[in-house]
Homo-oligomer: 430 residues x 2
């Protein structure tokens, strides 16, 4: 579709024909869902060997009975696994429960309420003034909800092709000492799919030297090994840069196996400096005696062989790649020559991010919803659910079966075309 | 041992002989531990059929794939199980992760920070003045740590043979509107083993009508089915009483399978009114997408047959009862005719609570520790680790093998005798 050169009459005709197509979808009673980044049934089934894997092996490699209490930071084998995932030292890894989101919530909560060093005098809430976080946008709604729950003000930062706009980030942090953190999904970012460039990683690692000891980079490496190609992009090590800048305490890294084994029944990881870990373990120890070590042991046995993780992720890729291709090919076929819509072509992760002309996102989501295709609510990828341009839509193609994705993307494209043509029509002289 | 009628010389002689016995223990290089209420290796092994139990059954009874995201309040079958455990309606049950302590921490944290009704204007921290909790003592140290972390002041309340001293509780609550909660382990209390009487349960249920809508009874029913006899004591239903008094919103109940299946890898439960559940789920949903439903499904299958829980708990009883008998028989044989030491004879739970003469608890713990028998630190059963009488010691006999318990209780008795005789000697005229 190319709408630059068309006349008013051609637009009107197009609108009529698209409306007819759209109205023809309604009676089909579709119930399709492109909302959340969930693995499909085939993907979770890749890990069904977890059932029955223990075979009496309840002693961990450090000779702990995983069936009993204790071990606030998890079992050694999974510290190694988390270290491999995050490319850090196992000594810096805490192995948690089933949710890295919970670890992130705890990290922010503890910093806010109890102090990053478990000294309440240093808690963010003790600062004089409104605490703030930087939020590269579009980003992950659940990060933003944590800030909102804890009354931490969020400041939008633009995403570029190489990560957050670092000139903007550095200027903001220099100007306002009440900015205490930044949310980052550094690899295959949610939802843009961007991998932060080496320069960006270095500049983020250096932020602590501007922002001071109470500042935290929330480094959510959720898609560290979730490649869509066999020649994956690499992410520079923020750990190494932080060692150069002496900002190790300013970085907290997260990962999980939710999209590796089972979503919601996997293992979550936090990696941080020795100082941070000491404080975090003390704070965490008040609310739990320890994580589910039996599930950790299952995962340790599941990934025991060298190369097991890589081989496992290839199986995921074989299932997810065709789904991304359907969406990307359909968008290309429909809008390849259209300047009024842009979308990402991610090399990994779970999302495709679509940018429409300003003011169209909510309309497209409504149009699609009205004919049974559920899209992530417009604005969800922005703090407070407010996309100032009303232009971004996040597509999540991994969960539905291929036939449903084909149907859903067809409807999505139809809705985008209709909204676009209606907008042009409203703006054109008759 | 009966020390009332002995002369100074007899005491001196006794002290000499006990000291000789004590000194003879030291070279044995013991390393025994009566500190924590942990199930033994034989007990956790009772649940090893959890491994391999799924056999492809990943669909829950409500047709949810337990391997994927979602379901903030858990799966239906485990709501029923939790309801059975707490004798409540399944509609009032939230099935959590691996730790009821975490659910308790969250309940207190949310009330303090976000409001019991998720309205921050009603949060405890918004009250003018120091928020307080009532703590029946001796009690569970981890309850007290939650209050300490959140700067909630703790007020000791005496335990009687029927539960907390309710005259004292009611008077305190009437006098001080800043008292926002009370910790209760109503059945086989930690560490006293007391089961609250019907009258106590009713009066606790009624507290909300004195204390108002922001008050919460933290009803930690950790030992609901952990009987040491085949004719278990019953606990009145606080739910029913709260319905009578219209105080349903003032009660939050907790339980877990940590001492039923695996300690730290079981399933935790929270039960509360519809109002409380709605607020709690909203608040919890910010920090997690949902609990580990695969482990919930394992447990649902494990306890599928009617009567499975009762039969399972009988197996625990067969393992724990002999250990309690060893300790109780040894105490009876040593101090049956001595008025200077009292201990509980629990019909369930995980602990024996020993009360020594004031000022002796720390000394006995030190004496035992010095010869390799680790006891729970004196004071641990009191808020701020401070037993004002320095008299209470908690014994936890479930974890060690029988031979170790025999050795450990022998040393404990020796240390008590020595401390007692030394005290008497100090107080007697030569």
């Amino acid at each position: 579709m190319q709408l630059d050169q068309v006349t008013y009459d051609q637009l009107a005709e197009l609108e009529q024909s698209l409306t007819a197509d759209y109205n023809a979808v309604k009676p089909q009673g579709l119930s399709l869902d492109l909302t959340r980044g969930k693995p499909s049934e085939e993907q979770v089934a890749l890990s069904d060997a977890l059932d029955g894997i223990l075979q009496g092996n309840y002693l961990t490699e450090e000779s702990i009975d995983c069936r009993n209490y204790g071990g606030i930071d998890g079992i050694a084998a999974m510290k190694h696994f988390g270290a491999q995932l995050l490319e850090v030292d196992p000594a810096n890894v805490l192995v948690g429960g089933n949710s890295s989101l919970t670890l992130m919530h705890q990290a922010v909560l503890y910093a806010h309420l109890l102090g990053v060093d478990n000294n309440k005098a240093n808690a963010w809430r003790e600062e004089e003034g409104q605490i703030k976080f930087l939020c590269p946008v579009p980003g992950y709604d659940r990060h933003f909800s944590i800030c909102e729950q804890l009354d931490i003000e969020m400041i939008n930062v633009a995403m570029t092709a190489t990560g957050p706009d670092m000139d903007q980030v550095e200027a903001l942090v220099k100007a306002d000492p009440l900015i205490k953190g930044i949310w980052c999904v550094p690899k295959y970012a949610n939802p843009t799919g961007i991998v932060y460039s080496d320069d960006t990683v270095e500049r983020i690692a250096a932020l602590g030297s501007i922002a001071g000891k109470n500042f935290r980079v929330m480094w959510d490496n959720a898609y560290a090994v979730h490649d869509l190609t066999t020649t994956p992009q690499t992410l520079a090590s923020i750990t190494k840069y932080s060692q150069t800048y002496g900002t190790e305490d300013n970085i907290i890294q997260f990962a999980s196996t939710s999209k590796i084994t089972y979503a919601g029944s996997g293992i979550a990881f936090l990696s941080a400096s020795a100082n941070n870990l000491t404080a975090f373990k003390t704070q965490l120890g008040i609310s739990t005696i320890g994580p589910d070590k039996v599930n950790q042991q299952r995962h340790a046995l599941f990934f025991k062989e060298a190369g097991a993780l890589t081989a496992h992720m290839r199986k995921h890729q074989a299932l997810t790649r065709p789904k991304f291709d359907i969406v990307l090919n359909a968008l290309e076929a429909a809008f390849g020559n259209c300047d009024d819509i842009r979308w990402t072509r991610p090399a990994g992760g779970y999302f495709i991010s679509v940018d429409l002309l300003p003011g169209l996102a909510q309309q497209v989501v409504s149009l699609a919803g009205a004919v049974g295709v559920k899209l992530t609510p417009a604005g969800a990828t922005f703090p407070y659910g407010n996309d100032p341009n009303d232009s971004n839509i996040r597509l999540a193609p991994t969960y539905p079966p291929i036939a449903e994705i084909e149907r859903a993307i067809h409807v999505f494209i139809l809705c985008v075309k209709l909204a676009l043509v209606q907008k042009k029509l409203g703006e054109s002289p008759p």
